[in-house]
């Protein structure tokens, strides 16, 4: 009998190669006769291209070709998720071309490409390309961009407006706010972030003249989607002539979901030079300028309620910076994925949001870990604390008072999830929020906060506690929702799995979804081992190649565990069913009399009449003797859609100490109590939480993409953009409650983004709590020493 590994903290099988330097990342791939590409990028944030002279570059040593936008007949990149789709919301869409032709809209937009024998030669020749520029006025901040008289980026987008999208009951919310006892208003900024995957992006394009087919290796979270977008929308090359492969991926955090110009460029270049493979690998500086950024909202929030702490309404007006042109699903992030969960884990009867998407002369903005949900959580969690402070209520008490009650599920929130168009009925399926809050309060020492604050004060430190009670929308699937007209991105979001039990009883699972470091090869092997009763070491998981894996939508939105694993569960069920029928044939019994216990298929009442799944696979795969109508081989494929998303939740508590003299913030304690449902592998879950929490704390304390007024990215390298380091953290103290998801058989929810969704607000709230004795209620992130000290000085000035 195989050991049941479902729920066990099994060590990750992929770490054998990933940790020991034996991984195969994009830049590790070296093909025979491969050549190299470098992309010339705009030094201006806004300029017209008067002319491009490539003649000198073409005569440089080793140069095979130099391309400009005029050489490339492809369409602009596709816009897959306009806000509100065709539900009456005007989207003024401007997409990047593979290389810019007439003008550039941000520093780093590609304008020419060099292909040379070596990367060094390509870099040298790139410098010899001469572009005659006509610089134009720039605008980088959303509030400036929508003003009359601001520099205009696109003719079809007056006042640089991409769209104005609303959700919720406008009049009802206005009435609730107008009649409320207490209303708190605040402008808050959710600053722009750079995803900073450890491995940047890159592609290799190879056109095979012998077959007229293309292979594209790409550091992408979505090889199946990219094949579709690159063929059907960008290049016009038939889909069956293109194969996309994602090798090992060194992190992505959303930045590798999208369709990028370079993917099409390596395809074009390889064919143009006669079929040599063309490799392009971005530098870190290119990654900072030309791979998507995240967040970047300016929000005016209003929260209303009574003096007992009952919240009656929340209203926001958000300006979302989407960059100089749009990324693949840019408009979907600050709309559907943000404002539809604005009320978080609270029963707030009135919600209204107005979101304006804005063009600026900055890098395009799209999904970054959490994608919309961290922004929503930051708004509602800051709002709860601001309101609590206004009425003098304990932040834990106000949360408890407004939580959606455990018996209120399934719960339809008022920002429209339940009434989303297209007939979808999305509701919050389950939850029990108070136990997680209570546990986090106990673990963090919250109940002795006053004592801790007094002790810290004696050391010249201001101590603060910050709570963040969050929900996450995981398992972004239900196709009826995400594919609905006016809501999602006009495509489905199911997942797929194929399972083959081969003659020797060894199992190969191929998945449509694919990992960027999350441990799928371990997780899915655990699931299939459990479902089929075969030893985990007899199961291998394959993925990430459009040739040989069923179509899948890739990995993001914390969906692979909750959606993808259930494709495997269903495929295993089909395998079991066929094995049962074949066992009946072998044992000369009725299929109804076959009992399955792990790998053993026995006749009811005759336990000695038994066949293992390995014996069944051997005989069935050979297929010498088959019952009528049965095909040989244990080989089943399932495409699985879900009925609903999954809804993890929890409460995080951050404790910070602020140096009164310097404003320096130290995170001194961090407690996270998360409910992610059942866990397939608790060690992997903890790892996901650790990473997510660190990223979210990074936003609160250190990270921020900063542009000069001329559109130059001032935080243009890791010398100026502070990626969190392990040594800056206390030990993260994790605990759990377990409320299995009713949406799926395993009861799992998803955890990839939970940490990042919760932790930013926890730390920001802790800093605000620490500063509250000075009369400070809010400081915008990142909470650097200079900013915190500046706020302290301003507060002291105000008192004087």
């Amino acid at each position: 009998m195989a050991i049941d590994v479902l729920g066990a903290p099994v060590k990750r099988v992929e770490d054998q190669r990933l940790i020991q330097g034996e991984g195969n990342y994009l830049d590790d791939i070296k093909l025979a006769s491969m050549v190299h590409m470098a992309i010339l990028r705009s030094p201006y944030a806004h300029a017209n291209i008067k002319s491009i002279d490539t003649s000198a570059a073409k005569s440089m040593p080793g140069v095979l070709a130099v391309f400009t936008g005029a050489d490339i007949p492809y369409n602009p990149l596709p816009m897959a998720w306009p806000a509100g789709g065709s539900a009456g919301i005007q989207n003024n869409i401007n997409m990047p071309r593979v290389l810019a032709t007439d003008s550039v809209k941000w520093t780093g937009e590609g304008v020419a490409a060099v292909v040379a024998e070596t990367a060094e030669q390509a870099f040298d020749a790139r410098e010899a390309i001469h572009v005659q520029w006509e610089p134009l006025p720039t605008v980088v901040e959303v509030e400036d961009a929508i003003k009359d008289g601001a520099p205009q980026l696109h003719e079809n987008a007056p006042n640089n407006t991409v769209f104005v999208w609303t959700v919720g009951d406008k009049d009802g919310t206005a009435a609730a706010i107008d009649s409320a006892e207490v209303v708190v208003k605040r402008r808050i900024v959710n600053q722009r972030l750079i995803p900073n995957s450890m491995e940047g992006r890159g592609d290799i394009g190879w056109y095979n003249p012998g077959t007229d087919e293309y292979t594209v290796w790409m550091s992408s979270q979505t090889p199946h989607i990219q094949r579709l977008l690159l063929t059907a929308f960008v290049t016009g090359i038939p889909e069956h002539k293109v194969r996309c492969i994602s090798p090992d991926i060194g992190g992505a955090f959303g930045s590798k979901i999208f369709c990028y110009a370079d993917m099409a460029l390596v395809m074009f270049a390889s064919k143009a030079i006669g079929g040599k493979p063309v490799k392009w690998v971005e530098t870190r500086r290119e990654n900072y300028q030309s791979t998507i950024h995240g967040r970047d909202h300016v929000t005016w929030l209003e929260i209303a309620g009574n003096r007992d702490g009952e919240i009656s309404a929340i209203r926001v007006k958000t300006l979302a910076n989407l960059g100089g042109r749009l990324s693949t699903v840019g408009p979907g992030i600050p709309t559907t994925l943000y404002a539809r969960v604005l009320s978080g884990c609270y029963k707030i009867p009135n919600v209204f949001a107005e979101v304006t998407g804005v063009y600026t002369n900055t890098t395009f903005v799209d999904a970054y870990r959490g994608a919309g949900r961290p922004e929503a959580t930051y708004v509602v969690e800051r709002a709860m604390d601001l309101f609590a402070k206004e009425i003098g209520m304990d932040p834990a008490a106000i949360r408890r008072k407004n939580f959606i009650a455990p018996d209120a599920f399934p719960y339809e929130n008022p920002s429209g999830l339940g009434t989303a168009s297209g007939g979808a009925k999305i509701y919050i399926d389950s939850g029990n929020y108070e136990p997680a809050l209570n546990r986090a309060l106990v673990m963090s020492g919250y109940l002795d906060a006053d004592k801790a604050k007094a002790e810290a004060k004696s050391r010249g430190k201001l101590l603060g506690f910050g709570l963040s009670s969050y929900i996450e929308v995981c398992g972004v699937a239900p196709s009826k929702w995400i594919g609905a007209v006016g809501e999602g991105w006009g495509a489905a979001m199911w997942e797929s799995s194929n399972i083959k039990v081969h003659l020797t009883g060894k199992v190969i699972v191929t998945m449509g979804t694919q990992p960027q470091g999350q441990g799928h090869e371990t997780t899915f092997a655990q699931v299939v081992s459990h479902e089929l009763g075969v030893p985990m070491e007899d199961v291998i998981v394959q993925h990430s190649d459009t040739q040989g894996t069923p179509f899948g939508y890739g990995s993001y939105g914390s969906r692979s565990g909750s959606v993808g694993s259930h494709a495997a569960v269903k495929a295993a069920a089909k395998i079991r069913e066929k094995a049962r029928r074949y066992a009946a044939h072998m044992l000369e019994a009725s299929p109804d009399d076959i009992e399955i216990d792990g790998a053993n298929y026995s006749v009811r009442g005759s336990p000695d009449k038994v066949k293992t799944i390995q014996e069944i696979a051997f005989a069935l795969d050979l297929g010498f003797s088959l019952p009528d109508g049965m095909e040989p081989y244990l080989d089943e494929t399932v495409y699985h859609d879900t009925e609903n998303c999954t809804w993890p939740f929890g409460t995080h508590v951050a404790v910070v100490e602020i140096d009164e003299e310097t404003g320096a913030v130290e995170l001194s304690k961090y407690v996270a109590v998360d409910d992610v449902g059942k866990k397939i592998n608790p060690m992997i879950v903890d790892g996901q939480l650790h990473g997510g929490i660190a990223q979210g704390v990074g936003q609160a304390l250190w990270e921020g993409a900063v542009y000069g007024g001329d559109g130059q990215l001032l935080s243009g390298s890791m010398l100026d953009y502070a990626v969190p380091r392990a040594s800056w953290f206390p030990k993260l103290e994790l605990d759990e409650t377990v409320t299995p998801s009713p949406v799926n058989p395993l009861g799992v929810k998803g955890v990839g983004e939970a940490g990042a969704i919760a932790s930013t607000a926890a730390v920001a709230n802790a800093v605000a709590d620490a500063l509250s004795p000075l009369g400070i209620s809010h400081v915008d992130m990142p909470l650097t020493p200079a900013r915190v000290w500046g706020a302290m000085q301003a507060a002291k000035g105000g008192q004087a």
Binding site: Y721, W728, A786
Partner: protein, 288 residues
């Protein structure tokens, strides 16, 4: 991140390194730990035609006590080697500053000489060496000379070092009883360079009380280049307390401002670092 093409020479002796430098007529750069030079080359902000690798010149490596009682630090000595040196371990401000420089990899490769000749406005080591009154021993085809570090640095990333001149060693005073020193800084988290860093040394004959015989304060990250805070020193000599004196931390300086900290914050936080460094130095001096 690929640098422009360059020639590479590995020097087998100090004299060979100097003749290679002299022969290249200002178009060469010396490669030691490479931690400042190579990133600039990869961004193509520096384009030397030739790199002269001095990395294997062992005579430039290590810490030794001179007969004069002073201590000589070879220019190629890495931060890690300094942290392991028993002699350097007697300097409180070195013990404070060294572990905060870069990370383990940087400290394994980066050299004290490289830091000194690079003259980064926010580097820690120049402030430590300024406070110590270090002298720099250099050699060129015209012979050797000794340059006080305060005269060596002339502006951001510029110094009096001639194109054909090599830094050989850094000489600092020997440790003395009755002295105490400390280094305190607040770092820009991305780079680890100081927003403001202060090195302080105070000393007097053991057993004596009253005014300090030696007061030396140096600051980095705040001005155009690391500088001696003479106004703070004078205030202390005039009887001011560390808190009072530290208010003069940025007197006479054009204070830096960038996306991490504006000039007002920098000037303020410099006073805090100076006071904290002073208080700790005084405490250490009292402990003997």
């Amino acid at each position: 991140m690929i640098p422009a093409a360059f020639e590479y020479s590995r020097a087998t002796s100090v004299d060979e390194a100097i003749s290679l430098l002299a022969a290249s007529d200002g178009s060469a750069k010396v490669l030691a730990g490479g931690h400042s030079l190579l990133p600039l080359m990869k961004l193509r902000l520096a384009r030397p035609e030739r790199l002269i690798d001095i990395g294997r010149l062992d005579e430039l490596r290590g810490v030794r006590q001179l007969s004069s009682g002073r201590v000589a630090i070879g220019a190629l000595t890495t931060y890690d080697e300094l942290m392991r040196s028993e002699v350097i371990g007697h300097y409180g401000l070195m013990n404070d500053a060294l572990p905060n420089i870069g990370d383990v990899q940087v400290r394994n490769r980066g050299t004290i000489g490289g830091s000194v000749v690079h003259v980064d406005p926010a580097s820690d080591m120049p402030a430590v060496l300024l406070a110590l009154g270090a002298d720099l021993l250099t050699r060129s085809p015209r012979g050797e000379r000794t340059i006080p570090i305060g005269e060596f640095m002339t502006g951001p990333f510029t110094s009096v070092l001639e194109p054909d001149e090599l830094l050989l060693e850094i000489q600092i005073p020997g440790g003395m009883p009755g002295f105490g020193s400390a280094y305190r800084n607040i770092e820009q988290p991305a780079s680890g360079y100081s927003i403001a860093g202060a090195a302080a040394i105070v000393g007097r004959e053991p057993g004596r009380s009253g005014p300090w015989d030696v007061i030396s304060i140096a600051i980095t990250g705040v001005g155009e280049i690391p500088y001696r805070a003479t106004a703070v020193e004078e205030a202390l000599r005039g009887g001011a307390s560390p808190a009072e004196a530290s208010a003069h931390a940025s007197d006479g300086q054009t204070v830096n401002s960038d996306i991490h900290a504006d000039a007002i914050y920098r000037a303020h936080v410099a006073t805090v670092q100076v006071r904290r460094a002073l208080e700790t130095a005084i405490e250490r001096a009292s402990e003997g």
